[in-house]
């Protein structure tokens, strides 16, 4: 599908999400709502991969670039960030390590549990 159509579809979804979040009783980012709408429409088959493929691939390949202006704006908050640099650094690092460990161990535990349950069921079936 032509790029202009793809832009139109994706922007249309963004517009719908801007409206939908106003209906929610809690704060919800409209961009994340738009992401969920895209996922739901794809799952329902109302939207096909080809409808947004090229544009989505371009966005995912250039996501880093899109954040350059936001990162550069760090300059405007330099004092605040400098004043809290050590806590920000420590918190980010320690939390990332904890998330890594907890996720890894939970997944390993669940796979072990799943295999055990499947094994028990098969043993029951085999008498």
């Amino acid at each position: 599908m032509g790029i202009l159509w793809q832009i139109g579809i994706l922007f249309g979804i963004c517009l719908a999400s801007e409206w939908l979040v106003t209906l929610l009783p809690f704060a919800f980012p409209s961009s994340v709502m738009a992401m969920l709408i895209v996922l739901v429409l794809l799952l329902c088959g109302l939207l096909r991969i080809r409808h947004i493929k090229e544009l989505s691939v371009w966005f995912s390949q250039n996501m880093g670039f899109l954040f350059v202006p936001a990162c550069t704006a760090v300059m405007e908050y330099f004092d605040l960030i400098a004043a809290n640099l050590v806590p920000i650094f420590v918190i980010s690092l320690v939390s990332a390590l904890l998330v890594f460990g907890v996720t890894g161990w939970t997944v390993k535990g669940l796979i072990w549990l799943q295999n055990k349950l499947v094994g028990t069921e098969e043993a029951k079936k085999n008498g």
């Binding site: 709408i37 202006p69 550069t72 420590v90 939390s95 890594f100």
Partner: protein
């Protein structure tokens, strides 16, 4: 000169130039530490500090690029959909692991922010730090945080994961499970970590990519309760 600088073309052009240099250095050095976004940011900050050109001029173009984050985030729905087959195959470990990871991310940050006595603004800026930038930044903004603090935290977590992911999976004794390793990398170090995960193995890369979306989704749900945590 001021007229030329205040055109949006200036901000967009200089951002592309800085990012192109970042990509070039990244290709030359071949290390996750040489992140193109980080290099471009450093170059631009040095440029504006040395030339004294006001940021208002840059923002004319920068705001246009910023706006594109919205449809770019929407398009992430497609990458989650593309990984749906792997999700179905490993449904319970993926959902359980990502939920545990997202909750650990939010509550560990919250606990440490209390410990360091950080104020509300900094705390809420750090709370969504375990998900990809495109999801973390709107969560931070929505709750009154400063996106730039969120980005600094994301970079620390992302680059750590990108550099240490293979060692971490051995230290935590999960290297025998590709599913666990991939999900742990995606949940803790999002896109930057995934760039390393892809090099480790196809399954680890796919799991890491999947974790970005699922962990992001759970963090968005948890974010609804951020005001209660503050």
């Amino acid at each position: 000169m001021a007229e030329a600088l205040s055109s949006p073309v200036f901000g967009i052009g200089i951002s592309i130039a800085a990012y192109a240099v970042g990509v070039w250095i990244n290709k030359k050095l071949k290390t996750p530490l040489a992140n193109p976004m980080l290099i471009a940011t450093i170059l631009l900050i040095v440029f504006f500090l040395t030339t004294g050109i006001p940021m208002e001029y840059y923002n004319e173009g920068g705001d246009i690029i910023n706006f594109l984050i919205f449809p770019a985030t929407a398009s992430l729905g497609l990458s989650i959909y593309a990984n749906f087959k792997i999700l179905k195959k490993n449904l319970i470990p993926v959902i359980g692991g990502c939920l545990a990871g997202a909750a650990t991310g939010v509550f560990s940050v919250w606990g440490m922010c209390r410990l360091f006595g950080l104020d509300e603004t900094v705390t809420v800026s750090l709370l969504p730090k375990s998900v990809t930038t495109a999801i973390a930044v709107p969560i931070s903004e929505q709750n009154g945080g400063i996106p730039q603090i969120t980005i600094v935290a994301l970079m620390v977590a992302g680059i750590m994961g990108a550099v240490l992911a293979p060692s971490l999976s051995r230290w935590f004794h999960i290297s025998d499970s590709e599913v666990a390793t991939g999900l742990a990398i995606g949940c803790s170090s999002h896109a930057a970590g995934t760039s390393t995960a892809v090099k480790m193995s196809e399954t680890i890369g796919a799991m890491s990519g999947l974790a970005i979306g699922i962990c992001g989704f759970f963090t968005v749900i948890l974010a609804i309760f951020f005001p209660a945590l503050l």
